[in-house]
Symmetry: C2
Subunit: 261 residues, 2 copies
DNA sequence: CTTACAACACTTGTATACAAGTTTGTGAGC
DNA sequence: GCTCACAAACTTGTATACAAGTGTTGTAAG
């Protein structure tokens, strides 16, 4: 089968929603072209579409990178989600019983994944809850918008969230569904607002994302004996670059390895 | 200067927001490339970006067309706007005085354009009101979303609106601003909901958009003697001024479906 | 040992050529 | 006169070649 640009787009987006692709990841055109068995042209199309959806960014002649939202952009994304999702709930006059059932089922799946410790499924399901909720309105346009926003906030969480609070989120989801079941839309909207605000508050937006995070992650887990004694450690809050942020290069600048022994 | 893809994108989008480009207009790659003095590649990029934003659609090997939303899609677009814009207002806790002043000024401009009979400015300003309002939050992401949605509903209005009710819309805008000025956010949100609902209700979504509208429009205004006796005109008269300017794509070339006779 | 510099490999940006499909125009046959 | 078949013109789809930068690395001077 010959993957279309939509396939490529979708593959990347769902990988992001599932948390398999980190923010800042470089997505080389040629690599992707080889991977999907098409020419660069198609990959480029997909990347440009993803760029207009706010998922990736291009750095001129350096490559395509999964976005690394700044603190300001993170705030905007969460505010946008609060605006849209509370507005959505308030528009929902009544929730059909089968939708409630479907949502309850979804929350049950969340719990399952959490209990099983399945990190991948867990992240995917937690984001999917909001998409499913949007589906309740049956508005494809709105669902699409929320889907893109969810991808964005998922990436933000990966950048700034010190610890995942999956259980708490799932609990919130359960409360929202419960309110919907009793028909108390107003409460559901309030709970949603608080839920999103809570997720945002759980982030550490003051901490500049570590430009070496990718490398560090690649190196630390391999705890075999031959590894260097200690990676310098997640540094204390270092001063932020004053003028503009550079799209973090995935590879280290140069290893001025002054290791002290 | 060499127009970038963003320039092309923006040129087309603002032409749509200003009502200079009708839904269904064909946008040929080569024509646009010649017009902007670039190769097809750049035009293609711009079109694909606009496609992901829901502004144009491609019909395989036939061309790019400005979207002609179906009745169902129209409903979705208006519902989405209601959800987002009421949500936005409710998020707005207080409105800074200078924003209120700016909005009042904007409404004054609307009135001016309406009184002057400037159809082009009028349509542009009426849509721009909502974009300005979104600006009040200072959330660029949300503003961008609303901008795209406004483009979409502008096109829908061109397709389905039998008569423009510019004065009424501008009046509604004034009421909303007045409510904001007194700090009565709740009322502002309600007014906005009613306003958008009213605009939607003013459409005739039951009427299938005339696939020959473009052609008919091009032919009817020329009321010279030698013209064919009468264009069949299956629909009640649509009174759109010819405004003999030529759009970006000179040919309004429609895919003619089967005609009833 | 550090630093400056130049060459190199690699990536995206853009145009162009050709393939594939659609619409339009033309003429033969009835 | 009308319909149908077929060819020509035109349009988008896709790949490829080359141009233009960017970051890295090797090397030599201080």
């Amino acid at each position: 089968m010959n993957p279309s640009t939509a396939n490529i787009e979708e593959a990347i987006l769902s990988a992001i929603l599932a948390g398999r692709i980190n923010p800042g990841t470089r997505l080389g055109e040629q690599k992707l072209a080889d991977l999907f068995g098409v020419s660069r042209t198609r990959v480029r199309e997909a990347m440009m579409r993803l760029e207009t959806r706010g998922i990736v960014q291009v750095s001129a002649r350096r490559g395509w990178f999964v976005i690394e939202p700044s603190a300001e952009e993170a705030r905007e994304a969460f505010q946008t989600r609060r605006v849209i999702e509370t507005g959505l709930l308030q528009t929902l006059r009544r929730v059909p019983p089968e939708v409630v059932r479907s949502l309850k089922e979804h929350v049950a799946f969340e719990r399952e994944a959490i209990d099983a410790g399945d990190v991948q499924s867990r992240a995917c399901l937690l984001g999917d809850f909001h998409i499913h909720l949007a589906d309740a309105l049956g508005n494809r346009l709105l669902t699409e918008i929320i889907r893109d926003l969810t991808a964005r906030t998922t990436l933000i969480s990966m950048l700034y969230q010190p610890t995942e609070k999956a259980e708490e989120s799932s609990h919130d989801h359960g409360d929202i569904v419960a309110a919907l079941e009793t028909g108390d839309i107003e409460t559901a909207a309030r709970l949603m607002d608080e839920h999103i605000a809570k997720v945002e508050a759980g982030l550490d937006l003051t901490a500049k994302p570590d430009p070496l995070a990718g490398l560090r992650e690649l190196l630390t887990p391999s705890t075999f004996a031959g590894a260097p004694p200690s990676i310098p450690s997640p540094n204390p809050p270092l001063g932020r670059a004053p003028s503009g942020r550079r799209p973090a290069a995935p590879r280290a600048h140069r290893h001025s390895s002054r290791k002290e022994d």
